[in-house]
Amino acid sequence: MDLKLRNKVVIITGSTGAIGLEICKGFLHEGSMVVPFYRPPLSKLDGLFAWGKENDIEKSRIYPVCVELDSTASLQQGVDEVYSKFNGIDVLVNNAGWTVEKPFLAITDEEWDELIRINLTAVARLSRLVIKIMMERKKGSIINISSTVAQMFGRGVSVYAAAKAAVNRLTEVLALEMGKKGIRVNTVCPGVIHTPMSGPLVDRLSKHIFERTPMQRIGETAEVVPAVLFLASEAMASFITGQHLFVNGGVNLGL
């Protein structure tokens, strides 16, 4: 099935993480121009370049841009660089995110601020810069990688859950505001996925997670990618905006 993502310019944050890397591969597989926003060192993208070589992906279709997500000036510089190189941005995937597992009462102010900065503020600031460019062409797709904890569960990850819930509402309001400009904004909400970040949680709670999940297993990073590609694609999702696509084995059905 042709998703018509060939040569589309796609910015992906958090591209060196487990899910981000798979999203990069997914867009490269579809023929897109992939712009991983990354924090140094560049060697963190070695795995992506190696995968590209193995799969006959032209190196020029990966255009890494070094960006500090918690700096508006750095974000602006990164977006300017992409714009001057490609003269437009088709897709933004706000994927960067992280959490610490701690009871709410043990969270320090510094941890609260940092988690909100990365999981929420950076999403808003980068979206604002990219939307300004997308408005020129009156089209574009923004996909925010949120989480099932935006709506349920989340004991021990209060800040992350609060930030992701805010991302979901931000997504809905941006969809309301930008719909008439042809810009679609959606989220993908993974459940528990096998990644280094979820490792301790999976080790401790896998039995409990299986019991609550209709599909009785943990998800894999590659299973998140098709949802992102689908929402990015004008051919597939041209009338879909402000929606949350759960990739969680049905855990939100509340067994």
Binding site: K132, E136, K181
Partner: protein, 133 residues
């Protein structure tokens, strides 16, 4: 100094592209929001388009800032309410046709409602002149 008619022609193109207006309904003394029905998102789209076209920067509050600069030591507003002197300076930007809108008690937050096609053109010319163009 930039030619007003050339600026107007370009602003008109931006209005058509950014605000889905027909060229025939655009007139210099129509207000963007009330007369032409431009909403806040369209207004931003329009400003971005004009900024790019002329390589200028128009920040929120530019009109108020320019008016305040022109008045120098005389206050433009007191507690967000525009002074009589401020209203007089705004008239220069907005044009005589909108004089009835420049009523006593007008607040700084209501300035975007006063923006006419003419005042946007004047704003562009002012920004170009500031850059020596």
């Amino acid at each position: 100094m930039a030619d007003f008619n050339e600026v107007y022609a370009e602003v008109k193109k931006s209005l058509v592209a950014s605000c889905s207006l027909n060229e025939e309904e655009i007139a210099l003394d129509k207000t963007l929001m009330e007369d032409l029905g431009v909403d806040s998102i369209d207004l931003l789209d329009l400003i971005f388009s004009v900024e790019k076209k002329f390589s200028i920067s128009i920040e929120v509050g530019t009109l108020a800032r320019l008016a305040a600069e022109k008045l120098q030591d005389v206050p433009f507003e007191i507690d967000n309410v525009i002074t009589d002197e401020g209203l007089q300076v705004l008239k220069d930007f907005i044009g005589d046709s909108q004089e009835q809108r420049l009523r006593k008690g007008l607040t700084v937050h209501e300035i975007p409602l006063l923006l006419t096609v003419r005042s946007l053109c004047n704003l562009v010319i002012n920004r170009l002149a500031a850059d020596g163009r």
